[in-house]
């Protein structure tokens, strides 16, 4: 067993998940490929969304992959950082908006 949970080299082995379950892996990777094709959103917009989500789920593989991918798609560093701020705003906001619940409860309990 390796000494760390994450190894950058594992990212390249992503496709190997097919070894234990080929049919589902194929479905997943075909779907994955289609999702990232240019559609109503451009490939670059999708890459930036993926970068933002990567930070939300704090997946080091995804951050690695979608940093390169965003650069390849021609995103600027500013756009990439703004995407991460979107993550941060939503994550922070998601906590903060629960403050309303806390306030509701406080108001209900208090005289």
């Amino acid at each position: 067993m390796q000494k760390t949970y994450y190894d950058p080299a594992d990212l390249k082995k992503f496709g190997d998940v097919a070894e234990f379950q080929p049919e589902l892996a194929k479905k997943f990777f075909d779907y994955y490929g289609d999702v990232f094709k240019e559609g109503a959103l451009t490939a670059r917009e999708k890459s930036l969304i993926a970068l933002a989500v990567s930070h939300a789920i704090q997946c080091p593989y995804c951050i690695d992959a979608y940093t390169s991918d965003s650069l390849e798609k021609g995103a600027t560093e500013q756009q990439m950082m703004e995407a991460v701020h979107v993550t941060t705003a939503i994550r922070g906001g998601a906590s903060l908006v629960h403050g309303v619940q806390m306030m509701n409860k406080v108001k209900k309990l208090s005289m």
């Binding site: 390249k12 240019e38 451009t42 490939a43 670059r44 390169s68 650069l71 390849e72 798609k73 021609g74 600027t76 560093e77």
Partner: protein, 351 residues
Amino acid sequence: MIKSLKAQHHNLSDTTTQLKILSNGIFGEGRLPTFRKKIEPLNEFPLKPAEIEIFQVNVGYMCNQVCKHCHVDAGPDRKEIMTRETMQLCLDIMKNSNILTLDLTGGAPEMNPDFRWFVEEANKIGVQEIIVRSNLTIILANPKYYDLPQFFRKNNVRVVSSLPFYQPDKTDRQRGEGVFAKSIEALNMLNKIGYGMPGTDLTLDLVYNPGGAFLPGNQAELERDFKKELKGHYGIEFNSLFTITNLPISRFLEFLIRTENYEEYMEKLVASFNPAAVKGVMCRNTISVDYDGYMYDCDFNQMLGLKVEKTAGQHIRDFDLKKLENRNIVISQHCYGCTAGAGSSCQGTVA
């Protein structure tokens, strides 16, 4: 001013060192397949040329810029330069063959004192297409170059220019402080006299190459972005955008090694190997000539000192189209740069 690797006496200015790096390490140990191994099962080894259509002449390694990724290791300190006699030999070849295109590159080809003479003579003998790979900033580098746009137009030159990004910082980091602003000014001058404008046949193409150790994105999508941004912000128009992959040679190789990106970059190139791109690699239809008149399969091989096979005749004095079209192309692991993804050549993607 930054110096070329050559002027720094850097060990990577030695082509033997570069070739060793490309053959040893990950490839020597068998962790990654060599290019030969990869094309053998496709029945593409030895790699053979098709019809030669482009004569790409490198008229010298001198340049007013010292871009970080330059595979030529060009710069103001490079003195290698093509003489008029060698140019004449090139012209004789163009005159007596069916090669369609004369593609002039460098360095900054315009800095060769016989550059204009060469272009004018090529026109006189009726060369079908003359391409000049201009770095744009040269047009503003000195008053003697200010009229280059007019000169290009008068001689029906197709201009192909590097602009790695449509915003200043990425461009300047790769090509030097202030390069973006000057490039925009030069593009404006070219547009003003009709280059890249709808309704004219004055072609102005731009070249995009990634600003680091990553691959170029989709050519059509980047072209659309470039057109929108350059038009919107600077009122600039152009014809096509060519995406070119950075090959692990010279200054880009030095960057890859220094920043510990080399192995990962090579892995990426190998993983993105596209069999369909092998058919379109530019060495199949191009002959590259150096300032001394020696011939190579491409400009990259030229910078690695890999001349065309001996049996094909290595100097333009011995130019023999039949022999050249029968030669085996010299390959190494840098060739993976031409076959990654949609492929890469001096005309952009190939697959």
